[in-house]
Amino acid sequence: MEDKIRHVICPYCGCLCDDILIEMTGGEISGVENACTLGARKFLDDAGNRLKGPIMRKGDEWVDISYEEAIDYAVKVLSEADRPLLYGWSGCMTETQAIGAHLAELIGGIVDSTTSVCHGPSILAIQEVGHPGCTLGQVKNRADTIIYWGSNTIEAHPRHLSRYTNYADAYFFHNAFRERKVIVVDVRKTVTAEIATEFVQIDQGGDYHVLSALRAIIRERGGVIPDMVAGVPKAQLIRVAEICRQAKFGALFFGVGITMTGGKYKNIRNAIEFISELNRYTKWTISPMRGHSNVYGSNEVFTWISGYPFAVDYSRGIAFYNPGETTAVDILARKEADAALIMSSDPGAHFPRVCSEHLARIPTILFDPYPSATTHLCTLQIPTAVNGIDAAGTAYRMDGIPIMTRRFMETVYPTDTKLMQEIYDRIRKVKEDA
């Protein structure tokens, strides 16, 4: 039997495209329409790729265990740990994130999301100087000038251009594609750079200098700028500044190309202040290109529960936030954590080696439907239903819009929300009995 399901939400990247059409044959996904390659592979590769049940490392072998045994182990490890790290949270729904934050408080642990290794610096900058942002709907219908800075959008958020910027129809333009200008700033000529009206290639780590130069030009202090700034000729900087000043509505999107390089949050602060300079003349906004489907949700949820967006340490009994100290990479690099719960993320593939080494040393409990790089490092992996396929919940799009994802497949797997709630309730009981 073949079935078509419309308006499915793609749970891959922060665009959370809500127009996906899924074809089902015999209870399995057989076709995907409207999604980009990344989204389509997320759906199509699901069949046959999931772990059948929880697996546990015992000495030098992996053994299959039941969900009951897995939960018993998780309850024991987390309730006995002195400095547990609860990390990940960007691939699960806000409902699960909320339980994670409460669990951290209950056990005096640290809760941090993948934010700390993607747009953590952006949040630090926003905390310093604010965030002149807007929703993607405003950009789609109004923006005549777009900047992608340190973001290879075509490969990382493939439909961002067709749904919200370069290739999107716009209410206030006759022919948006012809009327919009796209500026790409990057250290390498990416595929995104190839579609740019103006490509600015900067030297690795030169973002801060180039932003400072652009600010000076906008403030009519261009005279102080040398002929070349971080590999960019002054003439091009003047041209770019002029395009920005002439815009009626501009939107700057920045990727991890600028948050990860030297300067980190100071780069983003400079970018926000560049936008503030432009706002003396015209209308500009700036927004981070959030990567994982619900990484933004983790910041919302942790903030409304603890007051802080990520890296929240409850070891003092109250919420304490000090990125650089309470962030996952630092906690692991200092070998501080004595147990870890990893929720739907893959530090084995994305953390520096010293952090992965430490995860292999301590009891590490991984919640992930599929085998990943962290699988080889953990002590226990518990497969869950896949959010956006056989589990549903709320996710936040990169511009802060909450979207309800859809469940369109029957499942034999428990959801991560259900498992986390059970672990929370059991640990609470252990603590009360003690």
């Binding site: 490969e155 690099a333 953990c378």
Partner: protein
């Protein structure tokens, strides 16, 4: 030769994040793109291997020439190979230096570790179904 290694998402890497132990993910994330002139200087051709070393830690990678890459730099898709070359310092921001690691590269005949083998070097136990 010393180069600065940049990392980032590619469509092939991103399409296989649900299958990190697949041959496609392995090939893509262990593939360092270099400027052809730099490749000539260290004496490697497309598809041959180099050993990348930083801070006394090495990882073997395959190389592919790419004219878009500036001389003295390289591009390695994000993943466990790239992160072998990243240290744990975050300069008090929480964010390590994922991009712009200074790396020494030389031609090698050694074989490239799989993702599971890389994790074994870090103390893990490869899981194979």
């Amino acid at each position: 030769m010393k180069i600065l290694v940049n990392t980032g998402r590619t469509v092939v890497q991103g399409s296989h994040v649900g299958r990190k132990n697949s041959p496609e993910y392995f090939r893509e994330t262990s593939n360092l793109r270099l400027n052809p002139v730099d490749m000539m200087e260290i004496g490697v051709d497309d598809g041959e291997r180099i050993k990348a070393t930083t801070d006394g830690i090495s990882v073997v990678l395959m190389v592919t020439s790419d004219e878009m890459i500036k001389r003295g730099t390289g591009f390695l898709p994000l993943g466990p190979y790239a992160n072998t070359l990243v240290g744990g310092t975050t300069h008090s921001t929480g964010m390590p230096d994922f991009k712009g690691a200074e790396v020494n590269i030389e031609a090698t005949g050694e074989k490239i570790s799989t993702v599971g083998e890389l994790m074994r070097h870090l103390g893990g136990l490869p899981y194979g179904r």
